[in-house]
Amino acid sequence: MSRHLPAILFLLPLFTAISLPLIGLKYSAWCRLLAYLALFLMIPVSIANLVYVLQNGPIRYAFGGWAPPMGIEWVADGLASVIMVALSVLALVCFIFGESMIALQLGTRMVYLYTLILLLVAGLTGMVFAGDLFNLFVFLEVAALCGYALVGVAGGKALVSAFRYLILGTFGASLYLLGVSFLYAVTGTLNMEDLTHRLPQVMTSKAVAVGVLFMFLGLGIKMALIPLHGWLPDAYTHAPDSITPFLASMVTKVALYGWIRIMFWVLGAKTVLYQIPVLQLVGTLGCVAAVVGAALALSQREVKRMFAFGGLSHIGIILVGISVGNQTGFAGGVFYLLNDAVMQAGLFFFAGVAMYRYQVFTIEDLVQLHGRPSWLVGSLIVIAMSMIGIPPTGGFFGKWYIILGAIEAENYMAIGAVLAATLLTMGYFIKVFERVFRDSTPRPEPHQGELSSPLRGSLVGVSVMIIVLGVVSDPIVRFLIDTTIPAGF
């Protein structure tokens, strides 16, 4: 039974998603409960999966019983299981927030929204466990299609952003598929494990270099690495407040995880293509993204857009961490990825509540928050501390281990980039707090009644999670070093 846990983790949201519209025809009141139940069940199942993997080693799940490399295989190793636990917890928290938020915005049509969200979670689960390059492509597209639909779900300006997201996202997926077909043409296999054995003999082939480049470009668009981020700011800004946390905390991070999988488990950490070490190239691009993203965030007026650029900068920092080329840096990068997923969810929870209740759209509007309930301002402070990297929050320790790894590797560009990004992040949060704490003229009263407790609970819960991640960061990072490090370090 335990061997089937990865498949169960995927089938749980998938079957719920498919059956919800049917159940919704007659018993639409049940749908909400069922969606909650499926997402809630994912947490114990993913934890059971992690425990099983830790005790018995990686699960290699051959679908249909057909042995890889001919059959399709899923791999649940340490890294995948850890990411899966984070994914299922965040999915539930984002769902609690988004569901109570969007009920206020959308009204009807909720059943289809549940379906889309559950399908998104199923697609992301598939991406996490995929042990096959083409399988990764399929789940990339399943998740992305739900993403396009979710961005456009509330209509209005978001439709145009969703359309742009769709065009660029599909272009990225096509590039990825092109890269996969190059690798397939050279090696004759799609299985990641099999590729690691066959690639070294053909490393000098131009097709491998071009294929890897295309795959990186494709996933780069999906994870919104800085020069390829065109779709993200608009999509995050205009998407419904309840949907943005899903996109910000999970979709880009899982695409990034897909690239980690390819870079370390397929290519290997020491790969050199045409005299260019892949790790160094990715690290340099990460440095650029970290600094440029934070600098662009500093120049934004709209709150949600500013946070979106902050997230872009963090994608860069994660890439810097994983590509410094030693265990400390890699574990720091993975830890920062987990932290960033929580922080991004929290940031957009905050933006959603501020926007919905206090009509905060631009930086100037933040004066509205002066003297507002302490849980709102308090969680903003915690999230901001983590975004900047002030102890005892998780963000600090993530950056700490990344910088330790960079010092170990004597990679001073990486240290400089992380520090510069930190300073710039501090810059835009100073802009935020300057407005929040400025005593302002009498403010109009918030137009709606009391905020529902799920909104408050999820925001406070995320803040607590950030602190907890910071306080227990040492055991977590040691655990990550023990369980998730790829071969070759």
Binding site: F134, F137, V138, E141, L145, Y148, A149, G152, G155, G156, K157, L159, V160, A162, F163, L166, I167, T170, F171, A173, S174, L177, L178, S181, Y184, A185, L190
Partner: protein, 125 residues
Amino acid sequence: MFEIIEGWLQRPNYITFVLLFLWGIYIMVTRYNLVKKLIGMYLVQTSVIFFLVTTSAKQGATVPILLSTTDVIQPETYTNPLPHVLTLTAIVVGVATLGVSLALADAIYKKYGSLDEEEILKRLE
């Protein structure tokens, strides 16, 4: 130089792929009409699928089904079925994408009364 061009002409399928791919990107970048952008996007997708399928092409080969159980199996007489199977999945993904994109284009048209990107952006202001 001459050899390079000769080498290229040996692979008309790759030339077709490159032309289709670039043509699709060109349409996506230069056209303002949303449906034309979609056509460009679909062309890019289709060109990749075309490339994938041509990698399995072999002269004089046939479908990978054994016609007799007693003859010696000759690999050169069978094509590789895997790219075709992958292509099928990629086509399904492409169709789903097209469905979502047309629904979005339709919703945009109903909302803004136009499919011209510049006009929509003007109305967004």
